[in-house]
């Protein structure tokens, strides 16, 4: 994905249409409220989160063991297992499976991993025709856009936008915005693809080490439809999708849909354990930076993520900047702690696209300390030299004055230090504070000056 604009620049453009921002914010806040209602109906919700967190902590600490166990069991089940060190190797493996089967067409259900690896671009360069079958993903695919949200890929679009896109690509009536009409058109269009494609690719929500099976959660049933009609099933997963035993699955299934959309459970939770007779099932297990992240003590537990997007829906910054402002496959708070691991330079702006309000950490079903990690990434990015030099110079000057009360006092007398140096006061002609906000009115005296006249110990002195 191109990163021509920083988050703040892209967000500023997104904010030019304030009514649309309001609509985007309210739509996602509605999802957050649905999540609140459904999670608050479960008395043991907080215990469930804690349990999930501990299961995932155990997985992260024993990853090598569980991956080997999972692979052995998957092989026993007749699944062909591939390992990919990075996105490129993942893409090559998928392409080689296509070539081996003489296939040039594929249906694909939702997989954020393939977005992360830019599989669609890779395959299309090789002449492979990929059809995304998740409705939201199909809409953005037709528009040649990436998903703006990991669960609701087309949440940035209104029905009018979808109508125009379908009119252009699927020949629906111009100006017909009726959701039922549009969905029916998508259904007919996709039905034809399902029936004619011989290879189906799916993501993986959970990979169970004990049984060697994978579980895929969808609301549209498109993963099942694709797999059941194809000769070859390719499932792609980041290695952190592992859970130890089947009994743990219930913990995650109860958390996932409630956190994502407020549903008690996804419509389909499909278990894939072995290929059907005469068919092939492949599994591609991908690292792509995950080992590196696992080796970073401050950031390793970001790998607990189950991709529910609750942190996006609750994030006041995400809701008002739109997913594309994050210029990564996974947007929002979780994306901002995952992306710098893959490329610090490209993604140095993202950990700063937050007020550190902490709501993300509170909704996270596996208790990732997202906002603390955003703070920690800021420290890393500064130390590694990925912040503007002018900022470093200003910060050094500021910290020197604040460390020295005598200088601070002098600076204060010479015109109030904070007034000159607070971020909202820096008057460089482009004062970002003043653009849409008044500055605080300066008082006649500071608290310090008042205290010198009125503080108990000064009054005592006066009385002596």
């Amino acid at each position: 994905m191109k990163n021509n604009l920083s988050h703040s620049q892209a967000a500023e453009i997104f904010n030019k249409d304030e009514k649309r921002v309001d609509w985007h914010d309210e739509t996602l806040w509605f999802v957050r409220e649905k999540r609140d209602k459904s999670s608050h109906q479960i008395p043991g919700w907080e215990l469930l989160r804690e349990t999930a967190s501990q299961i995932k902590n155990n997985v992260l600490s024993n990853m090598h063991h569980y991956l080997q166990e999972f692979e052995a069991n998957a092989l026993k089940n007749g699944i062909i297992v591939h390992w990919a060190a990075d996105g490129e190797e993942h893409n090559k493996i998928v392409h080689s499976i296509m070539e081996k089967n003489g296939a040039t067409q594929m249906v694909k259900s939702k997989s954020m991993l393939t977005e992360e690896c830019h599989l669609n671009d890779y395959l299309s360069e090789k002449g492979i025709d990929v059809i995304d079958t998740d409705l939201g993903e199909r809409i953005v695919q037709l528009r040649n856009e990436p998903p703006s949200h990991i669960v609701l890929p087309a949440i940035h679009l209104k029905k009018q936008d979808v109508s125009e896109t379908f009119h252009e690509h699927l020949g629906t009536e111009k100006g017909n915005n009726d959701p039922q009409y549009l969905t029916e058109a998508a259904r007919l269009h996709l039905r034809d693809k399902f029936l004619t494609r011989k290879v189906a690719l799916t993501g993986v929500n959970f990979a169970i080490a004990e049984t060697g099976e994978i579980v895929v959660c969808t609301n549209e049933g498109n993963a099942d439809m694709g797999v059941h009609l194809a000769d070859v099933h390719i499932a792609c997963m980041g290695f952190e999708k592992i859970i130890p035993e089947r009994k743990h699955l219930g913990v995650f299934l109860r958390l996932l849909a409630r956190s994502a959309t407020g549903q008690p459970i996804t419509t389909f939770s499909s278990h894939f354990k072995k290929p059907r007779a005469g068919k092939e099932m492949h599994l591609v297990i991908v690292d792509n930076g995950r080992s590196t992240q696992l080796g970073r003590p401050d950031f390793r537990n970001s790998l607990k993520c189950i991709r529910c997007a609750a942190c996006m829906n609750t994030c006041p910054v995400y809701r008002r900047s739109g997913g594309h402002s994050y210029h990564t496959a996974v947007a929002g708070p979780i994306g901002s702690i995952l992306a710098p691991n893959l490329d610090m330079k490209q993604n140095a702006d993202l950990p700063f696209a937050s007020t550190l309000c902490g709501s993300c950490s509170n909704v996270c079903p596996v208790k990732i300390d997202i906002h603390d990690q955003l703070y920690k990434w800021r420290q890393v990015l500064v130390k590694e030299g990925y912040t503007p030099k002018a900022k470093t110079v200003a910060m050094k000057g500021m910290s020197a004055v604040l460390a020295n009360p005598v200088v601070f006092d002098l600076a204060g007398k010479a015109g109030r230090f904070v007034m000159k140096n607070a971020p909202f006061m820096v008057n460089n002609g482009l004062n970002a504070w003043y653009k849409q906000r008044e500055m605080p009115a300066p008082p006649t005296e500071s608290f310090r000056e008042w205290y010198k006249k009125n503080g108990t110990e000064f009054k005592e002195k006066d009385n002596e």
Binding site: H7, S8, A11, E12, N15, V21, D22, S39, P43, W45, E46, P316, V317, R320, F352, A353, S354, T355, L356, C357, G358, S359, S361, N362, R378, Q379, L381, V382, K383, T387, T392, M395, M398, S399, L402, A403, P405, R416, M419, A422, F424, V426, A432, W433, K435, Q436, R437, E438, M439, P440, P442, P443, F447, R448, E449, W450, K452, G455, T456, E457
Partner: protein, 244 residues
Amino acid sequence: MKIGLFIPCYVDQFYPNVGIATYELLQKLGCDVRFPMKQTCCGQPMANSGYEHLTQGCDANFVANFAEFDYIVCPSGSCVLHVKEHLHDEKNEAASAKIRKSVFELTEFITDILKVATIEGNFPHKVGMHISCHGQRGLKLSQMSELNAAPFSKPEQLLHGIKGIEIASLNRKDECCGFGGTFCVTEEAISVKMGKDRIKDHEEQGVEYITGFDMSCLMHLEGILRREKSPIKTIHIAEILNSK
């Protein structure tokens, strides 16, 4: 019980009335409170920008100013949270550890340490409470809407003894206002939009004042309110609690 009054740098210079109200309120509650004159800043502006490694001097100065006190009280949840989580002084780590444990935000100091349940005063106005994130989700001054847990609010509890006050119920109880330190200028568009949206919620409830326990958030909201020529005013909770 010796109490050190920690007044954030921007409150000292822009909002002396908040410092005065805090000082007077603590005295009214019978506290022996002093303001160490050589305090400067807690270092949060640098740390949140990724420059925590430049805050050693600031930290050492903070420790030198506040080591002698039994408790340190401050009318800002955000600054208190920063001290609690990040204050270190290699040369005096024992003193920093003690300070990290004994620094309190004003309202939690009153409810949890002084064990005062409510405060008498007079403020006959409709008020909206802005729950600042660091005080709420960091210091847990009030229950967080994300959690499935029993509600409480230390600051609101204190307001219940104020005569004439009417506390508005907001549509979004604890959404961030968008101040966020340097975020307010580096992400100007989003920061202002978040502030405007918070204000709209308060407007819809017909409040006369927006109050809270963090002046930085209120300063940001005040900046937008004044630009919009809104009749709504901002006021720190210490000023309401210190009303006569």
